[in-house]
């Protein structure tokens, strides 16, 4: 039964635009969906390898900027008078290149920053995101700096001569986001349910023990960082083409915090965690907006976060699983293993 749940959820989600005609709520689903994808990417690192990357938003932003710039074109003079001119390309190539560039940055950052662990790793990743933000802010020629990249075209699929399909309407964009979310989910679930995933869990649990059985820890960390950055980049690309404007504020620490909250409250190291946490924290502002003043909305957000961590330190999904397990009286292992077993 359990293995069909994601499909049921997917079908349920796919039906949303059919009965939900409120564009504002649909808009909330789309932006929440984008942040769920980003949170899933963070979960791959945090939940499965145990590395907390608080600079995840850098990859999100790099994906957003790359995709936007590829589809808008740019004209930049590099050091030494080399001029790089890029004519606009179709948007879908922008999205793909955004993913690749993000993944590549993930590789570089992974190579460098996995030399340190724990709190140092956390601060190093924050520093990275800050540097990227400041580059986006100050390299005006490329990024327009604080003037923002505007008029970013909507996502269009197709090839010259074969016709195009554009994702301009909210409904179609919802399905695009849902599709990317499903693909990311599949990638992550296959990865963590494989030998690779076991290696990641091993190094999260006990790094020395993992290397002693011949697991090359660094290469798996870097692999996780690459996949994670690529998925975050995809989310960033979707964000840029949905909002149609990006400025260096996409690198704000707040966005990373949003992702972390979604992952940790939902349940890190579970596939469903970021989805559940994402829906909750994506919709808290939507609900609280109609009841309380602006500052109080934030205060509720913060208090709710603390309460969830206090009451359910492992997250909502593991707690629900445990509750069902105890109700069934049958022994059910912890979430991580539960998923690993799904593959069997």
């Amino acid at each position: 039964m359990k293995r069909y749940l994601p499909w049921i959820a997917l079908i349920a989600a796919a039906s949303i635009p059919l009965w939900l005609h409120d564009p504002y709520i649909l808009n909330a689903f789309i932006t929440t969906g984008i942040f769920i994808i980003a949170a899933m990417s963070l979960n791959l690192l945090l939940g499965y390898t145990g590395q907390l990357n608080l600079g995840q938003v850098a990859f999100f932003g790099i994906g957003a900027y790359t995709s936007a710039l590829v589809s808008l074109g740019f004209d930049v003079e590099l050091i030494g008078g080399i001029r790089v001119v890029h004519e606009p390309w179709p948007v879908w190539t922008g999205l793909l290149i955004g993913i690749v560039v993000s993944a590549f940055c993930g590789y570089i950052v992974g190579k460098l920053s996995f030399r340190v662990r724990g709190a140092y790793f956390v601060i190093v990743t924050i520093s990275f995101a800050e540097v990227v933000r400041l580059v986006a802010l100050n390299w005006v020629e490329l990024t327009q700096g604080p003037l923002a990249l505007t008029s970013i075209p909507p996502v269009t699929l197709g090839l010259p001569g074969l016709g195009y399909y554009d994702f301009f309407s909210k409904q179609s964009y919802f399905y695009l986001v849902l599709g990317v979310l499903a693909i990311s989910y599949i990638i992550i679930s296959r990865l963590v349910n494989s030998r690779t995933g076991r290696a990641m869990v091993a190094l999260k649990e006990n790094e020395s023990l993992a290397v002693s059985v011949g697991i090359d820890v660094t290469s798996y960390l870097v692999l996780a960082a690459v996949v994670s950055a690529g998925i975050a980049g995809a989310a960033g690309g979707l964000y840029a083409h949905y909002l149609k404007i990006i400025d260096p504020d996409v690198f704000l620490f707040l966005y990373t915090v949003t992702m972390v909250i979604m992952v940790v409250t939902g349940g890190k190291g579970t596939l469903a965690g970021p989805v559940v946490g994402g829906l909750i924290f994506g919709f808290i502002p939507v609900f609280s907006r109609s009841f309380v003043g602006p500052e109080l909305q934030w205060i509720i957000y913060g208090v709710f976060m603390i309460v969830i961590v206090f009451v359910l330190p492992e997250g909502i999904v593991p707690a629900i699983e445990k509750w069902f397990a105890s109700k069934d009286k049958s022994r059910m292992p912890e979430s991580t293993q539960a998923q690993v077993q799904d593959a069997s």
């Binding site: 296959r190 091993a202 006990n206 059985v213 697991i215 292992p333």
Partner: protein, 269 residues
């Protein structure tokens, strides 16, 4: 028993003039010994004598300040731990020997990492090779669990096992990594007499398979029972080396080590 191994007498692991300094502290001053193919050698000595440090040197967790380590003729000194493991040298740990919050079966599956054949693309695209490889690993994992005798606990969290079973699982994981030589760090600490006896049987079976074994252990009856040779460390240097009988009678060993009373480690500590 010792006659058989002497007949082989092919050095597998050789440690030459290894010294380890931590800042001003000398953990090992000068250590030289070899372990032959198929031999069971025990490294003993009082606490702080440098046994675990020696293990860390051999398995790449520490770099020696001086000296070299070779396995089957190839130098190990500059290898990373996982590279050492892929040369066939696999160790167990004294304290944290298993992945606590993962179940027993998955622990062994993690141990089987090196034997997996699937590549990243196989995994992501769910290609047949992925499935085949996984099936193979699962079969192998069951076999290994049966071999160490904890197959009935396969679905339990490793952290929920009794201490003795955790040690067995640690060995199972090490075996899963396909070693030609095992380095066991106090494998029977925390085991009761029955468990220890069972473990000694397991060791005997492993040596029957031609496995080379280096053992650090405090349990003297066991050391005396299973070892072909014993190396005694004290204050970072070797003070005696030889077959169990010779060590038992060595006055320096008695003074340095046995003299303070044969300490069995408190069980379950």
């Amino acid at each position: 028993m010792s006659v058989a191994s002497v007949a082989k007498a092919q050095p597998a692991l050789s440690i030459e003039h290894v010294a380890v300094h931590f800042g001003g502290l000398i953990a090992i001053s000068d250590m030289t010994f070899t372990v032959n193919e198929g031999e069971v050698v025990s490294l003993i000595g009082p606490n702080g004598a440098g046994k675990t440090t020696a293990f860390n040197i051999v398995t790449g967790f520490l770099r020696p300040t001086k000296g070299t380590v070779h396995y089957r003729g190839a130098p190990l000194t500059d290898l990373k731990p996982h590279e050492v493991a892929s040369r066939g040298l696999v160790r167990t740990f004294q304290r944290t020997s298993v992945f606590q919050s993962v179940n027993v079966f998955e622990n062994v599956m993690i141990g089987l990492h090196r034997r997996g054949r699937s590549r990243l693309w196989d995994t992501l695209l769910a290609l047949p090779r992925e499935k085949a490889s996984e099936r193979e690993l699962r079969t192998r994992a069951s076999e290994i669990l049966a071999m160490v005798g904890i197959e009935h606990r396969a679905r339990d969290l490793a952290g929920s096992l009794a201490y003795g079973d955790q040690r067995l699982l640690g060995v199972a994981m090490a075996l899963a990594a396909d070693p030609s030589m095992l380095l066991l760090d106090e494998p029977v600490s925390g085991m009761n007499a029955t468990e220890t006896a069972r473990f000694m049987e397991l060791l005997a079976r492993l040596r029957g398979l031609g496995m080379t074994i280096l053992l650090v252990e405090h349990d003297m009856p066991m050391v005396m029972g299973v070892s072909d040779r014993i190396v005694v460390l004290n204050y970072g240097r070797i003070i005696a080396e030889g077959p169990p009988a010779a060590i038992q009678g060595n006055p320096e060993v008695i003074r340095a080590y046995l003299g303070e009373g044969v300490k069995k480690r408190a069980r379950g500590s």
